[in-house]
């Protein structure tokens, strides 16, 4: 039954495929899915030829913004994005880690100016073994799992 649902096509919307297994919750949070009325399918721990195990999210009637895609790339760099219109795949691409993230990451440092004055955050992204981000203001560096996203 689960498999059936997952392969079920959607008419219009977005499929986020090859999400690292277990990361679909974090993606759902970025996309604020719990407050969305759209038809939504989340599959977890599906087997994947490419990455072993994967999660997948299908959302009807939603096109992701560039900022949303960039944030997803930070927590699951191998994800692919499929845009569907009238049951047809009109765009399919591997998402890319952006060099910078504006506004959507909250700085975990409570002594940082971004948590005190009205100022948009900006983080430099560094990808080594894992993804890290550095606040432009307080210059503190954090693992991506340490930060919260804000949309």
């Amino acid at each position: 039954m689960k498999k059936q649902l997952i392969v079920d096509p959607i008419k219009n919307g977005t499929v986020i495929d090859h999400i690292a297994a277990g990361k679909s919750f974090a993606v759902a949070e970025i996309l604020n899915l719990k407050n969305l009325d759209n038809l939504l399918l989340i599959g977890m721990n599906l087997s994947s030829k490419k990455i072993g195990k994967k999660d997948i999210i299908k959302i009807e009637n939603k096109i992701l913004t560039e900022d949303e895609v960039n944030s997803i790339a930070l927590i699951s760099p191998d994800a692919t994005l499929v845009v569907i219109e009238n049951y047809e795949v009109i765009k399919k691409y591997k998402i890319k880690i952006p060099p910078k993230v504006h506004k959507h990451i909250v700085c975990p440092n409570s002594h940082c100016i971004t948590n005190i004055e009205e100022v948009e955050t900006e983080f430099d992204v560094m990808k080594k073994k894992k993804v890290e981000v550095r606040c432009k203001y307080c210059e503190k560096k954090y693992g991506i799992e340490q930060v919260k996203f804000k949309f």
Binding site: C112, V119, C138, E139
Partner: protein, 300 residues
């Protein structure tokens, strides 16, 4: 260069140019005229030494300044945002020197103001004019910044001056030695950056063994308040004290630096040795700060 906020913004070439400018000012080869300019010295977090140093730097070039020290004298206390306070003050001044306990405050100021901003310390983050005067002191005593053996001892975890200094020296082919109590060691991100750049560094227990190799020993204060248990402090404090007796086998060019204030981590008998350089180091803050102001006002 529009502002002076972080050592991260400044490359090797700019460092060398600023140091050369500071030297020209110190030796009297040039004398920039600051008399048409009014500087605002905004020490939201008080710091007597840095404040005096900037004040001296400005006055000796005939410049004028006004100051605040602490937030008591400003409307910050009345609930005004920092942005509004700064925007208002910037209507009167030609440039701002700012110390604030909030990290990133100076960068923020530089983004919302039309006039140059100099960071005189933002919380645990940066203190770039201190880093510059440290570099100036090293170059002045060693004749170069290249290929030096530099040890940093004391509180390496929370001391932002040591972090900025290590980062500023990345491009100068240094060899580092770090000596610190277990829980005051150099933070991982500083160590990671050194590894990435293949810069040799050694974490040492006993400073004695490495002293004969050193060109510079940079000492910082271990603050009692950093220790949860007083016995832990008592156990380690003497291991990081420099005495004249320790300095018997050092190289002739060897110098001891310290950002001051010191407590007992350098005993006063060191002051009389030719290796003590910490008071001259403080004095070097004047031409370095003059050079930074001169550069930002585009007077050289």
């Amino acid at each position: 260069m529009k502002h002076f906020i972080s050592m991260r913004d400044i490359g090797k070439q700019e460092i060398l140019e600023l140091l050369a400018l500071a030297e020209k000012i110190e030796t009297g080869k040039i004398k920039p005229d600051l008399s048409p300019y009014l500087g605002a010295l905004l020490f939201f977090e008080p710091s007597t030494r840095t404040h005096f140093s900037f004040d001296t730097a400005i006055k000796k070039l005939n410049g004028k300044s006004f100051s605040i020290s602490g937030t008591g004298s400003t409307s910050v206390k009345k609930g005004e945002t920092l942005a509004d306070t700064l925007k208002t003050i910037s209507q009167y001044a030609d440039y701002i020197v700012m110390r604030h306990s909030i990290e990133g405050a100076a960068r923020f100021a530089s983004e919302i103001l039309e006039i140059p901003v100099i960071n005189a310390g933002d919380g645990t983050n940066q203190h770039p004019t201190q880093a510059m005067l440290d570099l100036y002191s090293i170059r002045k005593t060693q004749g170069t910044l290249e290929n030096l053996h530099i040890a940093l001892i004391g509180d390496l975890r929370l001391g932002r001056t040591v972090h900025s200094l290590v980062q500023a020296l990345h491009e100068f082919n240094p060899t580092f030695y770090f000596a610190a109590p277990r829980h005051l060691k150099m933070p991982a991100y500083i160590i990671d950056e050194l590894k990435e750049k293949n810069i040799p560094f050694y974490e040492v227990e006993d400073i004695k063994e490495i002293l004969p190799k050193l060109d510079i020993l940079y000492v910082t204060r271990i603050q009692k308040e950093r220790f949860a248990v007083l016995e832990d402090y008592e156990k380690v404090k003497d291991a990081y004290i420099i005495t004249a007796g320790l300095l018997e086998n050092v190289k002739p060019n060897f110098k001891v630096l310290h950002p001051l204030p010191r407590v007992n981590e350098i005993t006063t008998d060191v002051d009389k040795t030719p290796y003590a350089y910490y008071f001259q180091q403080a004095k070097n803050g004047v031409p370095v700060r003059q050079a930074i102001i001169t550069k930002l006002l585009q007077l050289a």
